[in-house]
């Protein structure tokens, strides 16, 4: 697939666990364990999963903010892990990251305008004299006003700060934005504003998103394709409509049925999972989900299910499908 913007194949990221006086490596946390994702230009890929499933680590290794353990990541056909640092730096403006917490991702002592313009200056993309104009333009497209440019982060509300975070990423004219839980810290009424902003920006600028979230209702509204992660592995990927209408993996079904729906009369069949997500340093054998799966059979304990096409590009890793 040459038309892919981002192609992640068999990506693994293990974090070593050190212990003892000699700081020996006694094991690994398999945060990302053989993940493959393809994102085409202008597409939104949603990555869902519980905390500890490794979705943020995928986002970070995908743009080489942290080094991988094995696997390959191609951005516009270039293998970013083969690039020397200065070449990688040149590529950085076209892949940007937006963080979850708008309170801790802005420097409290730097004016908002400077925070947004900093990267332009640093990468030498725009002559110094034009920077202010570019910042103003991007502020406006993120729904902020021109008088905000000389203010400090503490003068803004959470929703406005997230807009600033988006503006910082946008000012570089990226092709890909990795958004790591960008609306989780916001109130409902503000969340809707930011979701709409994400969608509007995609329409006007043809952006591609890797949208990382634990909230399935948000993901459904934004994403064209969705991948569900559990303990570092992908358990299901499908187009949005397919995944919500016809979820195949028991974990996806459980996730969907666990989301509270604001209709009090609605009675639903709910799959309530037992227990917590196991530790990624010592994942269960076979299918990693078998310890919590209500449908598990003997085979699930022993054999790792293959991640295969169940028809029409709907991939799933489950023995029972």
């Amino acid at each position: 697939m040459s038309d892919a913007l981002l192609e992640i194949s068999h990506l693994k990221k293990y974090f070593p666990i050190h212990k003892g006086l000699l700081n020996r490596t006694v094991g690994h946390v398999k945060a990302v364990d053989d993940i493959s994702i393809t994102i085409r230009p202008g597409e939104t890929f949603g990555l869902v999963g519980e905390s500890g499933s490794g979705k943020s680590t995928v986002g970070r290794t995908a743009i080489r903010l942290i080094e991988k353990t094995s696997g390959e990541v191609k951005f516009k056909g270039i293998n970013i892990y083969d690039l020397p640092p200065e070449e990688l730096r040149k590529l950085r403006p076209s892949m940007q990251l937006i963080f979850q917490d708008p309170y801790s991702s802005l420097n409290p002592r730097i004016r908002v305008g400077d925070a947004i313009g900093e990267a332009l200056l640093d990468h030498g993309l725009v002559p110094k004299a034009e920077i202010r104009d570019r910042v103003l333009e991007v502020l406006q497209s993120c729904g902020l006003s021109s008088y905000h440019i000389d203010r400090f982060p503490h003068e803004f509300s959470g929703g406005q700060r997230q807009r600033i975070g988006i503006a910082r990423a946008l000012v570089l004219n990226p092709d890909l934005i990795i958004a790591d839980e960008p609306v989780s810290a916001l109130d409902v009424s503000i969340q809707a504003q930011i979701i709409n902003l994400f969608r509007k920006l995609q329409e006007t600028r043809g952006l591609a998103y890797l949208f990382i979230s634990h909230d399935l209702s948000v993901v459904e509204h934004l994403c064209t394709r969705i991948g569900v992660m559990y303990l570092g592995s992908m358990v299901e990927t499908a187009t949005r409509d397919e995944l919500f209408k016809n979820p195949l993996h028991p974990y996806t079904k459980a996730l969907l049925s666990a989301v509270p729906i604001p209709i009090p009369k609605l009675k639903r069949e709910r799959i309530v999972l037992k227990g917590d997500i196991p530790s990624p340093s010592n994942p269960p054998s076979g299918c990693k989900f078998h310890t919590r799966c209500p449908f598990a059979v003997a085979r699930c304990k022993e054999e790792v299910p293959e991640f295969r096409d169940a028809g029409g590009g709907h991939f799933v890793a489950c023995h029972l499908v």
Partner: protein, 327 residues
Amino acid sequence: MKDLIKIDHLRTHFFSDKNVVKAVNDVSLRVREGETVCVVGESGCGKSVTAMSIMGLIEEPGGKVVGGSIEFDGRDLLKLSKNELRTIRGNDISMIFQEPMSSLNPVLKIGQQIMEPLIVHQKLSKKEARARAIELIEQVGISRAEQIADSYPHELSGGMLQRIMIAIAISCGPKLLIADEPTTALDVTIQAQILDMLREFKKKSNMSMMLITHDLGVVAEMADYVVVMYAGKVVEEGEVVKLFESPKHPYTQGLLKSKPIINQRQDELYSIPGQVPNPLDLTDSCYFHDRCAHCMDICRTKQPVLKGVADQQKAACWLYEEAVVHV
């Protein structure tokens, strides 16, 4: 049903050098026996401060309950001495907080923390308390109770800690449980477990519950009665099905419309324009007027009062005032 707790015209203010923040500004609500009341609103609307005021947890001199009454079982909690309040807290009213990780003592074993209220309030001996603690851990659905009782909070996951918090809260058989965003910090699958458990306890013990949340989905699942707060005031309240089916206040309508719902996709989500007003800049107006699509002249100059607008439903909005001529 009898009223278990009745809050009348409660006002809790916070003071800084020059300013007064009216965090809770004339709030009245009640919880009846065996009922679950959900208080909904965005951050800063005063829902948590209302709960803290009930528990007597507002610390002076920073903040103070400056007016109103909180009647619990026929006694005004605001007029009780510290000792009297302490016997009610823990015995009759208990509270669960949002962050289970930071509400337990990190250097005390789980078992000790569950035993503490049993020894203080129920006057159990250490041995009895320990046995009861193990029983409680089992009741909240954790296996290996003995082992868990001897572990420290950092050894458990967020979901398990919240279960422990619930075990502590229900240990003395409270009549009222106040849960302040009990599942906000948890994953959806764990949230489902915790909500199921709370519902079950409530059914078994006929406990009343005041659940504070910003998640309308949780409200729909748990509530009998809903109170919507905005900028320190109650803007709407009503029976849950009625309120969700026909919300009256434009803020409630907006909240319900802006929440993305699974399997009901829209191309563009409705969003309430603007943001919550600065609590220092509040004037004598409807606090929602500058975000409201139906704003009229009177909304800018006079505050609407909460009054009945339909069967079992109240709203504070000039749209439902008969004297106002609709333009």
